[in-house]
Every structure is written in C-alpha cells, then in structure tokens.
Symmetry: C2
Subunit: 285 residues, 2 copies
C-alpha cells in the first residue's frame, strides 16, 4: 500500500474489503468502488471539484431532518430512485414510483368511501376508486392502502400551517371484492424543495423543479410484494418533465367529470365532481 498510483489504488481499495462477511455487501462495495473511481478517473476530478462534492453532501446533511431528506431528493433528481424502482418491478404488478419525502406512516384509518378533506382546501372534488387484485386479476380482500397527496395549492400538510396535520391522507382496507374508494380534491403540481443544495444543482443544470400533480399510494397485502407508487393526471402540464423521473405511462389516468350525485353511488360526493378509476395489481411475495 506504499506504492499506490492512480491506476492501482482501485484494486487496493477493493482488496481492503475482501474480508467483508456478507457476500452481497462485498459485491456491492466492490462495484461501488469501481464505479466511483471510474467516474473520478474519467473526468479527472480535481481537488476543488472533490471539495465541491463534499460541500454538497455536507450541506445536504445540514438541511435534512425528520421531515426532509435531501439525500432522497438528490437520488430522485439524479434518476437513481427511478432506476431502482424500474430494476425491481415484480412481473405483472403495478409499476412503482417514488416514495417522496412526505410519507407519514401514522395516517388515520378511514372507512371505504371516506372523505379525506379535513380542512377547507378548495379545489375540485374527486372520487378515487378501484380494486386491488393479484396479477391474475383475483380480488384481494383486506389489502391495505396507505395514501397521501398535496392540496390543490401543491402543498402537503407538513408544509402548510393552514392544513390540519392529517389532511388529505388515510389508511383503508379493501372490502370483500377488493374495492377501495375515497373522496378528496384534485392535488396541485409543485416544485421539489429548491432552497437546499439539490435546488442549487437544478439551477446550475438549467433544470426545472416541477413535479406533475399526483396521488401517492402504498398498497400491501399478506403474501404479496407491496407497491409504492404514484398516479398522475393525463392533463398535467409537467408530465413530460418530472424533476424526479417518477412518471410511467401505466400510472397516468384521466379525470372523468360527472354532473350528477348518482354517478358517485354508493359513495357520497356533491356534483360536479371528477372520478379516477385505478386498479392495483400485486405480485406474489
């Protein structure tokens, strides 16, 4: 290790991990070291550029807390989160998409058809409904849906003192036919947080910070692979340039407008309102 040079240092680092007990971890570290070094070598990274990268990570750490994770955001805007989703999609299941930084695991339990608007949010009313099935199309009764969304303003409750903390989110179990349904308002599009190092990166890169409007879901059931995903309205102007690469064609829906209360049956929502029909498919575990 005394005669390291720019060519042999990579093998020395890989060798330093040779006693890693977990074989999967050893393989991951070896690949990480080779690609990290390959990057530095390819661009001939300078000490000043290395320092800028360290400062980026340090600043990301400073701005992160229990409610905001800048490292997740960095992974999102670099497309790593999307790639991991795309590499791991179980055959035949609903496609997955970003978890995002606003998931809160303690959403209130609500009954089938519940109205999840807990404050005066304004906006257009929406009935979201569908079924949870396995990949063969068989209903899954008692599947758990955990859902959350931004208000029409584009703000989540965690960002907006005007909203109750449990606004626009809930947990629900499907009925015997695998059905779920809730009443809400159309979410608005928004920009990812722009005040940290990731925002500076997006600006330097001449990139847009917009995300199209979306509903978030985690759908799970015993014996099946859970799906973390998002649904996007087809009429959103930001659909083609999502800052975090979360859009999938199979996750895009159309709002259908209704003028009569009967169209909502058996659920309750005053006309005019929109409906979203989307079925989730879970693969066997």
């Amino acid at each position: 290790m005394k005669n390291l040079d720019a060519d042999n240092v990579t093998e020395a680092v890989v060798a330093s991990f040779r006693r890693t007990r977990d074989e999967r971890l050893r393989r991951i570290l070896e690949s990480l070291v080779r690609h990290l070094h390959g990057f530095a070598r390819e661009v001939r990274l300078t000490p000043a550029e290395w320092k800028a990268a360290i400062d980026f990570l340090y600043a990301a750490g400073r701005i992160s807390d229990e409610r905001r994770n800048e490292f997740v955001l960095a992974s999102d805007v670099l497309g790593l989160s999307a790639l991991v989703d795309l590499l791991n999609r179980p055959e035949g299941a609903t496609e997955s998409s970003e978890l995002g930084p606003f998931y809160n695991p303690d959403s209130p339990w609500v009954p089938l058809g519940a109205d999840i608007v807990r404050g005066a949010a304004g906006g257009e009313r929406v009935l979201v409904r569908g079924r949870v099935t396995d990949t063969a199309g068989r209903a899954i009764a008692g599947a758990l849906l955990d859902f959350w969304q931004a208000a029409p303003s584009g703000l989540y409750p965690a960002q907006d003192p005007a909203q109750p903390a449990d606004n626009l989110r809930g947990r629900m179990r499907t009925d015997e036919q695998g059905r779920y349904a809730f009443v809400t308002v159309k979410p608005g599009p928004y920009t990812v947080p722009y005040d940290g190092p990731v925002g500076a990166l997006l600006r330097a890169g001449g990139r847009d910070a917009w995300r199209p409007a979306h509903f978030h879901f985690i759908v799970s059931a015993d014996g099946h692979v859970p799906v973390v995903t998002e649904l996007f309205p087809a009429d959103d102007p930001h659909l083609e340039k999502d800052a975090v690469f979360g859009v999938r064609a199979s996750l895009v829906f159309r709002y259908v407008r209704h003028e009569t209360a009967e169209a909502a049956a058996p659920y309750l929502v005053e006309p005019p309102f929109y409906s979203v029909d989307f079925d989730f498919r879970l693969a066997p575990a």
Copy 2:
C-alpha cells in the same frame, strides 16, 4: 419521459442536464449519472439496499459538524480522496496526501526553529527540518508551511481536553535559503473515528481503522501549486494498511536518533532527540 424503463432512464437523466451552462459541470454530471446508474444496474440494487445507502448518508450528515466531516472520512476510506490526489499531482512536485478532518486554518505563526509543544505532551522529541524548493531544486524563500499533528497518544487537540487548542501546530515562513524547522514530539498512530456510519462500514467490511503516525503539511508559495501532504515514519506498524490509503513511498522518512545537543544546531532541543529531514518541492502554478 412517460415511457421510462431500466435501460432508457439513464439517457433521460443525462438529457435533463443538457442546458447546464458550465460545460465542465455538464461533463461531470453526465459521467456521475452514468457511473451511478451503472453501479445500481450492475448489482441490481434493491429498494432495501437503496434505503440503507440513504440511511448511511443521512447518518453521516447527523454526525458531521464544524469539527468533523464524515463525508470526507467516507471518501477517504473508499480511496476516492487518494485517487483524486494521485490524479492531480503536478509533475516533479512532492506527492500529496489526505488533508484529513483536523486541519484548522488559524494555527499560530511561529518563528523558524520554534518548539510547537505547548502542553505537557510526553513522548520523544523530534526536530523536523528541511527546505522548500521548486521542481528544479531552487530554494523558495518566504514559502508558507502550515503544519499540524496528533500527540503521542494519537489524539489531536480538538479531541483531547488535556491539550491546549493550539498544541502541536503552527504556521511558518521559510528563510532566504528556503529552510524550515520546528521542534516537536513523535506523533502517535490512531484509528479514524469509529462511532459513526463509516465506522460501521469498516466493521462490516472486516477492515482496520488504523492510520500510521504522520505529520500534516500544507506548503504553499506565490506562483506555485500548493501541496497538501503527510509524512510517515518508516517504523510505523500500520504503514501497510492505512485505513485511508494516504501512504506514498516518497512520503516515508526515517527518524535519526541523536545523543548530543550540538546535532540540533542552530536550533534548540535537549538530547536525546530524533531528527526528520524532508524537502518539499513545489511545481510552478
């Protein structure tokens, strides 16, 4: 961007940076995205493994502060810092090595030959001396040496309430012949900080956290490329397994033992003592 898959997502992310105004930054981001994605694709990174990587970065942010930078340490143990040094060495100059986390830019100015031991440190006395020259061997008068080291215990003042804050460090200018000299004690080897996520990584990897003993230097002069480097004693037991890959054969010295005060002339140190003779070479800027 609606039809992303595990193959085309990388090009979509690269394309998102096409408006980056700084051409060098655009090239770096493109290479970073390709290598980051290449890594995830090669190991087929799972969501749980991605989450573990995010948690590592988040924990590194939590434990970092003005006095400790866990991201620098992560770069060091992954050999990235060493690679950047090795890629950027100016022809004919002294080799560079890690800055490390204990550099403090406000070290006191001291005269040529100063004793930099400001507390009762114990340990064996050392006279460190030499010259600063250009790559043609011509003396550089007025070159700035900024130096710091751990105590014989292996602790830096920032880690050790028993040491004065400015113990074992100083700033000095070379004389007309390019000479520098200071009197100190032998630094001890130590382990890199082991209580954070990098420590957990080293343990999981079956790796040693030891660094061989060393003196730190930043040597600079007008019109020359500054050198950040370390000097290592040849008798250190950890020389072959430095946790941060900082050792270079050209930076290893031998302590020479002296039994008489005359051997220190014109500087002052009581026998017995050791001397280290090391000349620094700076490349033109």
